[in-house]
Symmetry: C2
Subunit: 177 residues, 2 copies
DNA sequence: TTGACAAGACCGTCCAGCCGGTACAGTAAG
DNA sequence: CTTACTGTACCGGCTGGACGGTCTTGTCAA
């Protein structure tokens, strides 16, 4: 009973993220992902010949989604700076109560090198932000604060209230200018 | 109460942190820890009857060390605020190139609930900081930026240069007042 | 003697990767 | 149109190995 062959990859990727989020990063097994995606283990291994490839796919789709969202934000709303687009995007990402990237912990456990592309991406983004502003101190504070927000969301650590998060975002936007 | 021959518990805890840092969080097995600590598997299980207890021990020692260091900083150098003590302590912690808490990833993979005490601790610290200042916006920015710094160190993501980190710290201290 | 381990065999479980199938789809000759 | 062939997409059982945890036996210092 097969229907959408082409979407299998994305379905599997989404299923993997779901499993990691709901059952915990330690429960991200091939069988769990396959079952969640409505695919057999063989079908999963057909799309991703190894678990490492699956992790790599997760990283790549995460990065491309993020970049797409950032680009959209940075261009759509007029002459917004990349930094403020990044702030708003991150704020929205962190709005969702459940961390959507728990799979990162699985990836790190598998092999810390899986995060290398993410590090490179962040480095690139930071360089881009540096080229946009002349007040390095403010940029550093903003950038790190966003990093902290994302980290707290990732660790599912809800220290901030709704009001506090809003205040934080507006403070950051003010610092960003 | 008999004194053990050597302080095996601490040796084991340190060995576990070393294994997670050097071999990766996914390689944190009981055998690896035992071998690293110069202890047999039986000896390890004698001190920590289960892997969960070992993780718990890691968390507890991390938290007590951190609190002790924070208290020392906050009291020794005159009437420094807790926030600036926290900033400086975190900056020093992040000075070290290698993340010292990679075991956290192992703990999360094992069971996300292991981080509950850490979340509680952070929440408590944040409340304490809120009681110390009247400018919530600045506190939020500072606190999150520190969180970001710690997160980057944990993920071994060296986006900032030495100079940038120093500038960041001084900016944060200025914001903290 | 006893408490604090050392040493390691052993078992149950879990899981990644492999492999032999199977159900189509497209093509193309007859 | 039919039959035969071919490649794609997927199924699911299997296995080898790693790992956590238990248990037994031995050792040595206090």
């Amino acid at each position: 009973m097969r229907v959408p062959r082409a979407n299998s990859r994305e379905k599997i990727l989404a299923a993997a993220a779901d499993v990691a989020r709901e059952a915990g990063p330690g429960s991200l097994s091939l069988e769990a992902v396959a079952s969640r995606a409505g695919v057999s283990k063989g079908g999963l291994l057909y799309n991703f010949p190894t678990k490492a490839k699956l992790m790599q796919g997760l990283v790549e789709s995460y990065l491309s989604d993020f970049q797409k969202a950032l680009e959209t934000r940075a261009t759509e709303a007029g002459h917004e700076s990349v930094l403020s687009a990044y702030i708003k995007l991150s704020a929205d990402d962190c709005e969702r109560p459940k961390p959507s990237a728990s799979w990162m912990f699985s990836a790190i456990a598998e092999d810390p090198d899986f995060l290398t592309p993410i590090k490179a991406f962040k480095h690139q983004l930071f360089e881009r932000l540096k080229g946009e502003t002349d007040d390095l101190g403010s940029l550093l504070v903003c950038y790190l604060a966003i990093e902290g927000m994302r980290s707290m969301n990732l660790f599912d650590s809800d220290v901030l209230s709704e009001d506090e998060r809003r205040l934080l975002v507006s403070s950051l936007l003010k610092i960003a200018g």
